[in-house]
Subunit: 544 residues, 2 copies
């Protein structure tokens, strides 16, 4: 393929952590990045999808002042574009329809605005709720280099890329807001290499970074040169800015590649840390408080919280009762000390007794059941919320995905809180992450990892008395929830019919609990947030 | 327009209350209705949209066994179609894409399946998440009468109706799952009359009835004859079956029209009752328990609950504290007696004191704030949940839309519970509904309606100390939430700038509370459920 011979184009890739809704703040951040890039000699800076609004802006896209706010932001982008050309994502209204656009601005003018053609409307995505689909390629000429614009999902299909190449692109810019899930970075790179090798046109993949409610964006932006090699890899889990030169069809990196994230426990752990950090900081909480039970979920949650916020912003509270073992009390205190957080112990015995005494006339003659267990859990929830209300510290919930799935949690008890670090992490992965975290520094007492999990809400209680062993449970759950397998398919994979039917039933009937659960970090292809929209009132029965 | 002269076609319109997900149960219900219609001499029975799955089935549409289950159901529909032709809604998979279809079955065969063309993907609707859009009209010949098929949203556009007429329809069947909101029935009838008067083809509008999570379907099915008059009106708020004859282009009713719902307080009240009844019954709760405070929200909620379920399935609990007035205690007891429900009083004083004493070291030197108020509310929540857990009775929440909007409610306190009758009812409407309910029979003490609202969580507290007067608050809220007006538009409408900015800010920052609120009946064009998808982490500031 012959390329026009033009002067080298110095390009900056800007991987920013934007704040959804804060258009003035995001614009200021973009302009600062642009000015820095200009000072470094760049001719063009490329940002991520919907950078000005942050992603996903959800129903903020329907606010009547959106256009005015974007217009004000673009006035500033136009101004800075006298120093450096800017490719950036923002929503555009045309003929009463809204488009998800990538615009290129230079010398105070818009050279072109591309409207995203492939609008994801599955999993967590609702783009067809907001946007109309663009119909055509957009290639702009910047100092003789023809830049083809694409937005995120477009590159997961052939047509928008082919169109862009046919329209004469020398270089394709792909503006993304691509959330993390395990295994995704490999898919992204393979996909982009395939396009490049098919069309012989290099591509810059620019992703945003940061947490937004349940979503975590890992960044991990990269560039693929005409020989289908990744010529530049940007950082994961943090903001980054990198430089390269486009000249005569070739991309030459000017920045050293950062270490790419691996798809393993380290990535998963980093996603949890970033999710918690950004939720707490973007919502301006001074810190977090959590119940430390001596069990593994709260132990791992504490480690994540401290790694996210530092020990001085984290408080841990042990709330013992009759069934709390001495071992739990010791381990909680040990871990709190190892992590350097403020720690206290408050017994729930006195309030529990008063509730039981007030309820005695109603409970007379009725047998003890989970009511009493829930009551213990709710006394703890009330204590933590009181500390939260008084100090402004947000309560971090400690439940994991296995529990959320089968309803092994108490509404308004251990489920009380603003955000969950482990909400999308199965129990078996909780153990693995605890072991992983201890390889960095030993903060979780080994006994917490080794002992059989127990909610300690009844004498000598062990989780696996009422649930299948966690490896069995988690495999059934993963097949049912993430792979959408039917009961028969899961049984055919080797599980006991009774286990499968019981687990599926528990998942189905506990939708009402999940509907009132805190949001939390999403790390799989199907979390329990926007991804999974099941009715609460639901007559579906597992069977075929 | 000349019509083919054929034998009269006897038609039954079936307005059923289906159970989402229960395909075998829904099929059995449809077959029972069909057999009854056949016994009455009908040649054809027409059901609502997605009748076999119930509407909306949400992500159940992605279960791998959906096709198998629908195939089993259609085998039964085919069998009954030897007695009577059946027009019914169900999902159909073709070439790996799913369609929202209306099929006509006769003599064991499918005469045709129409795929919905206009897929709503706004407000509460997510149909583009599940379905591909159909591309063409479908007209089937039943005993010489050409039946044109349309599904719900199709008739809100011109193209699908025009296409169907052009394809030769003598009579249009419109299968609906159209949720209630105030004012909608008038819009529906005007719309259908417009189509009929434009095309000269009569139309049957068949809607489902019943509650499904936050949605309430009012039924109110109807038929419009070729002279654009409504020839048959079916019942609102309950199942109904009605008959008419199609002959030579004319529709002749064989059933008396029922009283159509009015768009006023009676309809709103009926929607609340049906929503509560179906949520409780379809989820098989034996009954409900609620906190009766002596205030108007819990008073109206109790009336709705009793009208929905009968007094023997409703328990009311007064949970007094220091700030509870004697008037509140008297009024709560009076109302409970008037409604004939089980009533008890449990003081929260002992547990409140124990919590405060356990928290004393942490609270020392800090001033009293909303923490103490929330603690009272949470003691009540814990008590109600304990009664709920022990008896199986679901806790009914009593919060209204004004409170949900500005966050004037306590998470895990008064917000604890499974379902909210008033969740989408502004406080000013709560007063109007209480007055309305008392015109049927006097169940709410007049003093409860007349006294200034107070949460009674602090000495001499009155809601309007911390909020604008409710008529002002509700008008601002309605403009901001339902009309999507900007701050400037609301100010231009005559509100104080300070009030507007404060209220909008409260709405925006309390998204985190709403995200954990119970679901509840939706009665406006924008409730706080699936309709309004705002980020929690949100840097948007009211201003322009």
């Amino acid at each position: 393929m012959s390329k026009s011979l033009t002067a080298p184009l110095n390009i900056a890739m800007a991987q920013c952590n934007f704040h959804v809704g804060d258009i003035p703040g995001n614009t200021a951040k973009a302009i600062e990045a642009a000015q820095q890039a200009a000072a470094e000699g760049a001719d063009l800076i490329v940002f991520s999808e919907l950078a000005l609004t942050g992603y996903p802006p959800e129903d903020l896209l329907m606010r009547p002042s959106l256009e005015l706010r974007i217009a004000a932001a673009l006035k500033e982008i136009a101004a800075v574009s006298h120093r450096i050309a800017v490719a950036i994502g923002y929503p555009v209204k045309r003929d009463n329809a809204l488009f998800n656009c990538a615009g290129v601005w230079s010398k105070g003018e818009c050279l072109g605005e591309y409207a995203k053609q492939e609008l994801p409307n599955y999993q967590v995505f609702d783009e067809k709720r907001y946007f109309s689909a663009g119909q055509e390629a957009c290639v702009v000429d910047l100092d003789g280099v023809k830049l083809g614009l694409t937005v995120c999902e477009d590159v997961w299909f052939d047509a928008p890329v082919s169109q862009t190449v046919e329209a004469g692109a020398d270089l394709i810019l792909n503006l993304n807001a691509s959330p993390f899930h395990s295994g995704k970075q490999k898919e992204r790179i393979e996909l982009i290499k395939k396009h490049v090798s098919q069309h012989g046109v290099p591509l810059l993949y620019v992703n945003q970074v940061g947490g937004q409610d349940e979503l975590v964006f890992d960044g991990s932006s990269f560039a693929v040169g005409v020989d289908s090699e990744c010529v530049l890899q940007m950082a994961s889990w943090k903001e980054d800015q990198a430089y390269l030169v486009y000249e005569d069809g070739q991309l030459r990196p000017q920045s050293a590649s950062r270490e790419a994230r691996e798809d393993g426990l380290a990535s998963l752990y980093n996603a949890l840390v970033l999710g918690v950090r950004d939720y707490v900081n973007k919502n301006r909480f001074p810190g977090v408080v959590l119940g430390l039970s001596g069990g593994i979920d709260s132990a791992l949650t504490l480690a994540v919280a401290v790694d996210a916020l530092g020990p001085e912003r984290v408080r841990a509270v042990m709330m013992p009762f009759t069934y709390t073992s001495g071992m739990s009390k010791e381990d909680a205190a040990l871990q709190a000390e190892a992590m350097g957080v403020q720690y206290q112990s408050v017994s729930i015995e006195p309030m529990y007794k008063e509730f039981m005494s007030a309820l005695a006339p109603d409970f007379e003659g009725l047998k003890v059941d989970t009511t009493e267990e829930n009551l213990q859990s709710r006394c703890r929830g009330v204590l933590l919320m009181a500390l939260s209300n008084k100090t402004g510290y947000m309560v971090l919930t400690t439940g994991n995905k296995s529990e959320m799935a089968v309803g092994y949690a108490t509404l308004y008890g251990d489920m009380a809180g603003g955000y969950g670090a482990l909400k999308d992490v199965y129990k078996t992965k909780v153990f693995a992450l605890a072991e992983y975290r201890n390889t960095i520094s030993p903060v979780i007492p080994q006994r917490v990892i080794d002992r059989p999990p127990s909610a300690e809400l009844a004498p000598d209680q062990v989780d696996e008395d009422s649930l299948p062993a966690y490896p069995v449970l988690d495999d059934i759950l993963e097949r049912y929830i993430e792979q959408d397998e039917s009961a028969e398919q899961i049984i055919a994979a080797g599980h006991e019919r009774d286990d499968v039917m019981r687990v599926i039933r528990l998942v189905d009937v506990n939708e009402y609990k999940r509907r009132q659960a805190s949001i939390g970090v999403r790390v799989t292809r199907r979390g329990f947030g926007r991804d999974r929209r099941y009715p609460v009132t639901n007559g579906w029965k597992a069977g075929i």
